[in-house]
Amino acid sequence: MKRRDFLKFTAPAAILPSFINGFSIQAFGSSPLLAALEGAATDNDHVLVMIQLVGGNDGLNMVIPLDQYGKYQAARTNIAIPEGKVLRLAGQTKTGIHPSMTGIQQLYNDGHVALIHSVGYPSPNFSHFRATDIWLTGSDANQVLATGWTGRYLNYDYPNYPVGYPNADMPDPLAIQIGSIVSPAFQGPAVNMGMAVTSATSFYNLLDGVEDPVPNTKAGKELKYIRLIQQQTNKFADSIKAAAARVPNQGAYPANNHLADQLKIVARLVAGGLKTRVYMVSMGGFDTHASQVNAGDTTTGEHADLLEKVSSAIKAFVDDLKGLKKSQRVVGMTFSEFGRRIKSNGSTGTDHGAAAPMIVFGDYVNQQVLGNTPTLPDNATVADNVPMQYDFRSVYASLLEQWFCVKNADLNSILLNNYQSLPLVNGLACGVVTNLPDINNENTLITNYPNPFSSKTVITYKTRGGHTLLQVFDTMGRLIRSLVDKDHAAGTYTVTFDGEALPNGVYYARLQNGVTQQVRTMMKVR
């Protein structure tokens, strides 16, 4: 069997058979959240598209800190993007993006993109698999979760799944993964809530009823028979086919772009009226240890090609949805299991790192660059990492709250903790308009003295009141200490950080207060 044949054929098998069960509508009515949704949102047919960049995307070459260009260039002499080539964003002086991402630049300037700086989590893991698991489950670094963050949300919204599904209210898969396996992100408490469409080829074969050849043997005959039954038992095949059939024409997508192929399918299903809430698409190749740029021109090379594909695929996707008059239904986000090291290595590449930027896009997304450009050291060493400003679960929480209209009080049970809300999505999306606070505050909220320090330093921080968090990380992103984690009255406070037992080097103090956070670089010397 050729690989192509294999792929073609695996569609019905990969579509999770777990979904095929009885048919009743009782389970749906028992969802308290559904009732809440009905009351809160008149038209909550919102869709989230998650774009996974597999391998660890080099965030520092995707979103470039123009205000620290010198340090950036010094840390990455062999791969730095020339300052003049960095794409500028409307109204932004400190932040620019990779020259190959003209599509994202245009979307940003049109007002439909939010860039979030330095998203990560305390004590980051540098293993692909473990880090991916953390991102997909929404766990802490030292915690193992059996369920995925999206699965917990979907289970909250559609309890008892798959018992009673599909039904009149939810005739379609809750989540669709375009890819080989159903993402662990969709793992609910009982079953995985997602369905996989193995590949673009398998999708179009499903639509076209294409059958694969089997060997001319008894075994081939039986295999063909079992596959036939497998196709007949896929209850979602019909709804997918019907949705696809309602969209005979789509906009143009770039050729030879694996991500574009996948997003084209998503656009077709969304526009065709599928009620599926979450889609996951993915693209590999971001593990750029070597040759991520061409030596002669750092704006070209492997990473540039990858980012060009991401950018042009998203642009085509958004344009297609606009043409199909469905762009208001969709918010998309990119994520990767980690960013890469600040300092490039000798083989024009970068090694596994920590926090990295995320791109969120959609008609309802607030145009903004959230957070400050990452703090870069004067003389970057191989151990230096981008310190986190935002917890990735804050992004999840914000999207659940502002896009899926989940009540704030319910977020804790889905994300298993209280995460800060970021103003990612316009309040109109859930019919709740909120004032955007001045989150890119120019005021210094956190300082320390002395700095450098030898054993102790006093940190002074300003809070607007409410929950206030003050954490200290090392350059590997490890959480060294949580100095403050409580509700404060508004005001300025001090706390002493005792670094006596710590090795010399750079430490980051991160203040989080509501939607605001700031990172202060502290230096320990003898």
Binding site: M1, L7, A13, R130, V191, T217, K221
Partner: protein
């Protein structure tokens, strides 16, 4: 097309029937080709329940000849009988059988007790299959259960069910003629086909008819017994009764028809002389002697073996090159089952690539086989409450997939072994295939739970039994060598490795690192979780594909 039509069409078959699958002329010549993993796994999946990695390694080190000889050994140990696992929820065995004690010789009790013992019995049988010795004995028990089919719901007395099973197991690899006699005198069968009501004043032909039609002669075109023969045989079999106290059958000469029994020309007009007193029992031997003179008997049984162990379709070449010579072997060896099996499983026909991976797994083979191949953990028999619940859970799964051991749909056995033209394909339909998939999905993720028992596949434990699990290429190759029989291309293996196991990551050593980290400290929950979240989707995917249902 059923077999009858097939033979009717035979002379003109090549002109009129479109041949759409490759055919083979291989026969019973001893196989002398490659003896590798593929052949070993083929042999094990067909003759045992699944190919267990340790068994594969064991037989790989032998010659084919020695491997088949070992598999032809009968069991060393007799399985301990089923016990009272049903004194639960306030219920107490009214006949006084203590919890954990065997009930097989206790008094019968009422219907409710028989029901509870029936479930105990079926769970026990499933447990025996799961713990089968390294030979084909247990598969033969299932084969004969399908051939000499009985239904526990008709037999009712659970002790008879168990005794019937013991009788099948004792004779499974012995002499077919002796087995047929044992079945005829088996109290469970006497109840099932009304033999215990058969008496001289009003012969009940039920058993006599099935003895010829289903158990010995068959109903092929060359089987030409008549209604006269059925009636004559029924009269031979008058007088047998069942003894519920001693759980056995006995002969009551006063109920026996002592007149002579005349058989048809197909049986050479033989006459069985009616006998009086206990000598009446010798008429059964006379009857079997007459029947077993027919060449068609051996052919009929050989076809049933063929359809159970190799493939359901028997074309003209197979009839000529396999069935006919195999029947000769069977007859010339005085109906010794091992002689038949030896010739079949050592033949070039059995190892013909065209006869591999074409057998749709029966539900029992599917469920028991997957537990054995993955090494699914069950409680020890000594922890009978837990063990029986787990065995019952698996038996219930096979039952929901339409193979309920002890209760085939009729005396003809399961449709998959006799109903043309679909045969084995009947196991797979839009109801049963999702159930199979659901079972494997649950077992590889949150666990399959039934009646308070849970069954789970430990993917790490399975991978750890493979020769080189830290190498992703070897891991995929060796897993597929056990779990699949269909050939999978290198490109497909690469796809499984890159897209599923490595989840799109580009470096093979990422897996190696993850696996070695787990092995370095197996108590580290984080490392274990990482490995599990890569292995579970891999095996789930493998089991979701259609190829997994073929043996």
């Amino acid at each position: 097309m059923d077999r009858r039509e097939f033979f009717a069409l035979a002379p003109s078959r090549k002109k009129t029937v479109k041949v759409n699958v490759a055919r083979t002329d291989t026969g019973l010549n001893p196989y002398t080709g490659t003896w590798g993993t593929a052949q070993v796994v083929h042999l094990l999946k067909r003759t045992m329940f699944g190919a267990v990695p340790a068994d594969v390694r064991h037989f790989e080190g032998m010659t084919m000849d020695a491997a088949v000889e070992e598999l032809l050994q009968t069991n060393v140990n007799i399985p301990a009988p089923p016990v009272n696992n049903y004194n639960t929820g306030g219920y107490t065995d009214p006949t006084g059988v203590a919890p954990g004690a065997p009930w097989v010789t206790a008094p019968e009790g009422d219907n409710m007790l028989d029901d509870k013992r029936r479930f105990s019995y079926k769970a026990w049988w499933t447990g025996v299959m799961l713990n089968q010795e390294r030979n084909m004995h247990e598969k033969l028990v299932l084969f004969w259960h399908n051939h000499f089919a009985t239904e526990t719901y008709t037999i009712k007395d659970a002790r008879f069910m168990y005794a019937h099973n013991v009788m099948l197991r004792q004779n499974a690899m012995g002499n077919f003629k002796a087995l047929t006699k044992a079945v005829t005198l088996d109290p469970g069968m006497l109840v099932y086909l009304n033999g215990y009501l058969n008496e001289k004043t009003a012969a009940d032909e039920n058993y006599a008819r099935e003895l010829m039609e289903l158990f010995t002669c068959g109903k092929g075109p060359d089987s030409q017994y008549t209604e006269l023969d059925v009636r004559a045989a029924a009269r031979v079999l008058t007088g047998y009764r069942v003894d519920k106290v001693n759980i056995k059958s006995y002969f009551d000469p006063t109920k026996h028809d002592i007149n002579n029994k005349q058989f048809s020309s197909w049986f050479s007009n033989k006459v069985i002389t009616g006998k009086t007193g206990d000598m009446g029992t010798t008429e059964l031997d006379d009857l079997l002697n007459i029947i077993f003179l027919q060449q068609e008997v051996a052919k009929f049984i050989c076809r049933k073996f063929y359809q159970f162990f190799i493939y359901y379709e028997i074309d003209a070449a197979t009839e000529a090159n396999v069935i006919t010579p195999l029947a000769d072997v069977f007859r010339s060896n005085n109906y010794e089952v091992k002689a038949l099996l030896r010739a079949l499983f050592k033949s070039e026909h059995f190892y013909d690539p065209l006869n591999m991976s074409c057998l749709i797994k029966s539900p029992v083979d599917f469920t028991v086989g997957l537990c054995r191949e993955y090494g699914v953990q069950f409680a020890p028999a000594s922890d009978y409450a837990k063990a029986y619940a787990q065995w019952r859970a698996l038996q219930a799964a096979a039952s929901s997939q339409q193979q309920n051991i002890g209760d085939p749909p009729s005396v003809s056995g399961w449709d998959a072994y006799h109903l043309a033209p679909q045969f084995h394909e009947l196991w797979i339909n839009t109801d049963t295939l999702p159930k199979r998939n659901m079972l494997t999905d649950l077992m590889i993720s949150t666990g399959y739970t039934y009646g308070g028992a849970t069954l789970s596949i430990d993917a790490i434990a399975f991978a750890d039994r493979l020769p080189n699990p830290s190498d992703p290429i070897a891991l995929i190759r060796d897993s597929l060598a056990i779990l699949y029989r269909m050939d999978v291309s290198d490109a497909t293996k690469t796809f499984l490795k890159d897209k599923i196991l490595l989840q799109g990551q580009q470096q093979d050593y990422y897996w190696t690192t993850a696996w070695n980290a787990y092995k370095a400290d197996t108590t580290n929950a984080m490392n274990k979780n990482t490995v599990l979240k890569l292995l579970n989707p891999l095996y789930k995917y493998i089991m979701n594909l259609s190829e997994y249902h073929l043996a």
